[in-house]
């Protein structure tokens, strides 16, 4: 299949790639670019493990073709950590022992980050709603919800 050249602002850097038109953005990021934080758990948009930021909105990258990202801004969990520092959501989920197997964590953290950018003081219901598209089988969600609600206590802390 003939490849198409595309340019993406990927984690803040302009990058040019050649991808087949039928390659999903999730597969492209993981298998061709080597960004492994996002995971694939269903390949049909059900589980949310492959959630990334696309022009600042959280999307499931298994439902987008890589060529559709041409000219857009894509940020994965790797790109959220400025100079390798953890974000408040990461610090809070770490301290709360919120995750267990950790497979859903990257997608879940993206979804939570989007929420607090839009709504810095979310209620519990709003947190649950915001992460309802991200499946977790280990935790029963409540430790994750508690950690997200507590993120402000980790702002500006090392």
């Amino acid at each position: 299949m003939k490849k198409k050249e595309i340019t993406i602002t990927l984690n803040g850097e302009n990058r040019t790639f050649e991808f087949e038109p039928n390659l999903t953005l999730a597969d492209a990021l993981r298998d061709r670019v080597g960004l492994k934080s996002l995971k694939c758990g269903c390949e049909r948009g059900d589980c949310g493990s492959c959630t990334i930021f696309f022009d600042g909105r959280s999307v499931k990258s298994c439902l987008i073709l890589a060529v559709e990202a041409d000219g857009h801004e894509v940020t994965t969990l790797e790109g959220l950590m400025i100079k390798g520092k953890l974000t408040p959501i990461q610090k809070s989920t770490l301290k709360h022992n919120a995750f267990q197997c950790g497979f859903c964590a990257p997608g879940m953290i993206i979804a939570a980050t989007e929420l607090i950018r839009k709504n810095p003081n979310p209620h519990k219901e709003e947190v649950c709603e915001a992460i309802a598209g991200n499946l977790c089988r280990c935790t029963g969600y409540s430790p994750i919800v508690d950690a997200i609600l507590d993120y402000k206590n980790f702002e500006g802390k090392e």
């Binding site: 758990g41 059900d46 589980c47 969990l77 953890l86 022992n97 950790g102 969600y141």
Partner: protein
């Protein structure tokens, strides 16, 4: 000096932050599909049976082989070998017949996964379709209703059953579909029923379920040109996998020393990644393309139909009881739909049979737990290992009995609850436990004795409470063991080499806490390594909730071994009195010399220099193993009595308040309480994590999930759109985890396992709450809104009839 550590625990019992936490919140944690194997990697796609039962006549791969990029088509006949954990009934590839929809028949290996998939569709298999056996009762045959042994089946799923090797505690029946028949007989059943004032009998049905770990199964095999076979797997059982790979591939000349299994982080297991299922394909296929890594990655659909499934069960329960609530006798017939291959699943049936009295003291018992072959996907281990399944019926039934006797459901349970020292149905004695404490704490927290008043503004909402007890023992061979090497680095930091798996439970953290406590080194300086069978010592499997207890003991023993070596060298090199030495703040100290101490890092690798310039000591390496030498699986096959098959039980109680909409049947859960006796909470935060997680996984089985097969045996809901697992919106409004600590005498710091147990009471607890709220009893799982509304309509019909 040993006692000093046990009196004031510095690291054990504390909410230490997960050792794997930072890797996981940063996306740095590596799972099987994150490993890069380079451009030489090949990808396999599987040719699958579209039929539940058929004879394979021929396979034609001509068209597939023509596709550019296809490297090889591997026919099932190339691997005519059977294997299995407890019974050798599973084939690497189907041979003469296929036994479930989705079973592997052949494989296409290609340079690109998409080419492999496309080519696999072009492989033509000619079948003679047979009538599948999809129902347990049909599989048992005519005349099996109350006596499975008497059934005469029309068709056999495994005509060669009598030739299969199995563990000595399995009892298959020739010329039937019974792969294992676990009998428990204790006391005098007839006398027990005669002694009763009432006898209550009922039937309960539990369907099949899927684990739904968010990470899908994957495996990569590579046979290098020197003949070394390495298999990377997402596995709860790396050493057991190596053993089974070696057994299965022994005809090709492989020994244990030739095979290496490496397991990175596992993205959720719940039993689904125990033993060997699809991983055998990566191991076998790798032998056909030396020098190439071969990757087999399941799709979510395959994850549903070709790994393990939780087995379905039909339970017939008969209980004799006196007017005062004393249970005199129990008969429980459990007929399990174990699927096409039962190499692992038959032990679920065995475990359930041993413990199907539930956490009750019952003097006269008959249990038949029967493992039945069907043409559905292989059954196997799933969190709870049979206990969730039989307790749905038993705990529902106990509630019904209390109601019929006019007794409070909690009082009835208290009256019959098992106590320490009670004789169990198979003859052994019950271990120390906090069941009574758990019952009373849950009763208090859920305000059991207060009735939830109906809300006049919402007349369609009915409120109710439900209660359930649970117990579970690790189901494991009596000689299951764990081991640990503990090595120091120059700065007195520690690496633990252990081979259990971090599947999310927090095992690395807790093992670090155990070693930290003995060595008085902070857990932050102790790192555990993920399993690699070449490097890390033996572990049976990360299953059965036995790791905290078993591997915890191995780690503790290794740390004590290291500590004793430290004291040896200090005594030998410095002439200190050994009995006075103790460890504190990463130093050796002495009770006799308050001002003296020596930091571990000063000598832990290089030793001490003597006056003459020679050195004493050398790298300290601790070694620890653990095997429960008191356990035995040998018993009388006709009664199950004689051995000590279970090392101990973890027990507890749970309760829930629900609000049900009478019009829609929808259930809301305002509050759930679960108390579990973990012996000692080594890390309370992680125990609470098991409680919230297990509760929701249990809620999933009772409210949302079940596997739906069509009349040809094909799974109809093999995806998350149709098999709905809970989201964050489905969590109870309030969850109260309660930790009970009745020390396990042989556990590390008194700990016993807690992983599976939190899921076990949930289904009957909610069923009991539905009964309490609406006066209807749903006897089959899941308890969907639809079933509730139908049960209410049925009840109204009955009541109207009575009025007329």
């Amino acid at each position: 000096m040993n006692d000093k550590n046990n009196k004031e625990l510095k690291y054990v019992g504390k909410n230490v932050v997960r050792k794997d936490g930072k890797e996981k919140v940063t996306g740095a944690a590596i799972y099987i599909d994150d490993i890069d194997f380079g451009p030489n990697t090949l990808y396999a796609a599987i040719v699958e049976s579209p039929h539940a039962y058929a004879k394979i006549n021929s396979i034609d791969a001509t068209e597939a082989e023509k596709i550019p990029g296809v490297v090889k088509v591997v026919m099932g006949k190339q691997f005519p070998y059977r294997f299995g954990l407890y019974m050798h009934d599973r084939y690497i590839f189907a041979q003469d017949r296929v036994r479930f929809v989705g079973e592997q028949v052949a494989a296409v290996i290609a340079r690109d996964p998409r080419i492999a998939k496309r080519a696999a569709k072009l492989v033509k298999v000619d079948y003679t379709v047979l009538k599948p056996i999809l129902d347990v009762k049909e599989a048992l045959g005519v005349g099996s209703e109350n006596n499975a042994e008497a059934g005469i089946p029309k068709e056999l799923v495994h005509p060669e059953l009598k030739d299969y090797q199995h563990v000595p505690w399995f009892f298959p029946k020739d010329n039937t579909n019974i792969a294992h028949f676990r009998k428990i007989r204790n006391g005098d059943l007839e006398a027990g029923f005669k002694d009763a004032d009432f006898v209550f009998e009922d039937n309960y049905v539990v369907p099949r379920y899927a684990h739904c770990a968010i990470e899908i199964h994957g495996a990569v095999g590579k046979l290098d040109h020197s003949g070394r076979l390495t298999v990377w797997t997402s596995s709860q059982s790396p050493h057991t996998q190596r053993h089974l790979f070696t057994q299965a591939l022994a005809p090709l000349g492989f020994t244990h020393n030739d095979i290496r299994v490496i397991s990175p982080y596992v993205g959720g297991g719940f039993g689904g990644k125990a033993g060997v299922s699809m991983e055998i394909l990566a191991a076998a296929l790798a032998t056909t393309v030396p020098g190439h890594p071969v990757k087999v990655l399941w799709s979510r659909e395959q994850e549903f139909y070709n790994t393990y499934q939780r087995q379905g069960v039909h339970a017939k329960i008969k209980v004799g009881v006196k007017k005062d609530g004393t249970i005199t006798a129990l008969e429980q017939l459990l007929y399990w739909d174990a699927g096409a291959y039962v190499e692992y699943g038959a032990n679920v049936v065995n475990a359930a049979g041993l413990s199907a009295t539930g956490p009750y003291h019952i003097p006269n018992v008959k249990i038949d737990s029967v493992c039945v072959y069907t043409n559905l996907p292989p059954g196997g281990p799933y969190r709870g290992f049979g206990y969730s399944e039989f307790l749905f019926g038993l705990e529902s039934h106990m509630d019904e009995i209390a109601k019929k006797l006019g007794m409070d459901a909690v009082e009835f349970r208290l009256k019959n609850a098992v106590r320490e020292g009670d004789k169990l149905a198979y003859g052994a004695k019950m271990n120390p436990n906090g069941l009574i404490e758990a019952i009373s704490k849950v009763r208090e927290e859920i305000k059991w004795d207060e009735i939830d008043k109906a809300d006049p503004s919402r007349p369609h909402i009915a409120k109710g409470k439900g209660f359930a007890l649970f117990w579970k023992a690790p189901a494991m061979p009596p000689n299951s063991s764990s081991s640990c090497f503990l090595k120091f680095n120059e700065d007195a930091s520690v690496n633990l080499l252990i081979s259990a798996q971090e599947i999310g439970q927090g095992y690395h953290t807790v093992m670090a806490q155990i070693a930290a406590e003995i060595l008085q080194i902070p857990p932050e300086k102790i790192r555990s390594e993920l399993p690699d069978t070449d490097r890390n010592p033996y572990e049976w499997q990360t299953v059965a909730s036995h790791i905290t207890w078993s591997c915890g003991n191995a780690v503790k023993n290794a740390a004590i071994d290291a500590r004793e070596q430290i004291f040896d060298v200090v005594e030998r090199a410095l002439g200190k009195k050994r009995e006075a030495l103790y460890l504190e703040d990463e130093c050796v100290k002495s009770t006799e010399e308050v001002a003296w101490s020596v930091p571990l890092k000063n000598f832990i690798i290089d030793g001490f220099m003597m006056k003459d310039g020679t050195w004493r000591g050398g790298p300290i390496i601790g070694r620890g193993t653990f095997m429960p030498e008191f356990a035995s699986a040998l018993s009388d096959p006709e009664t199950g009595v004689g051995g000590k098959p279970n090392v101990h039980y973890t027990v507890g109680a749970a309760a829930v308040t629900i609000e049900v909409d009478r019009e829609t049947g929808k259930i809301k859960i305002p509050k759930a309480v679960l108390a579990v006796d973990c012996g000692k909470a080594l890390n309370p935060d992680l125990v609470r994590g098991q409680i919230t997680g297990g509760l929701l996984q249990g809620i999933a089985t009772v409210l949302y999930e079940d596997m739906r097969f069509n009349e040809l045996g094909k799974l109809m809901n093999a995806n998350f759109t149709d098999y709905k697992i809970p989201t964050a919106l489905d969590v109870p409004e309030e969850i109260v985890p309660i930790i009970i600590e009745t020390a396990q005498p042989d556990g590390p710091f008194g700990a016993r396992g807690v992983g599976e147990h939190t899921m076990i009471p949930v289904a009957p607890m909610i069923g009991n709450a539905v009964k309490n709220a609406l006066c209807v009893r749903v006897k089959s799982m899941p308890i969907t809104a639809e079933k509730i509304v139908m049960a209410l309509q049925e009840k109204n019909k009955e009541e109207n009839k009575e009025k007329i």
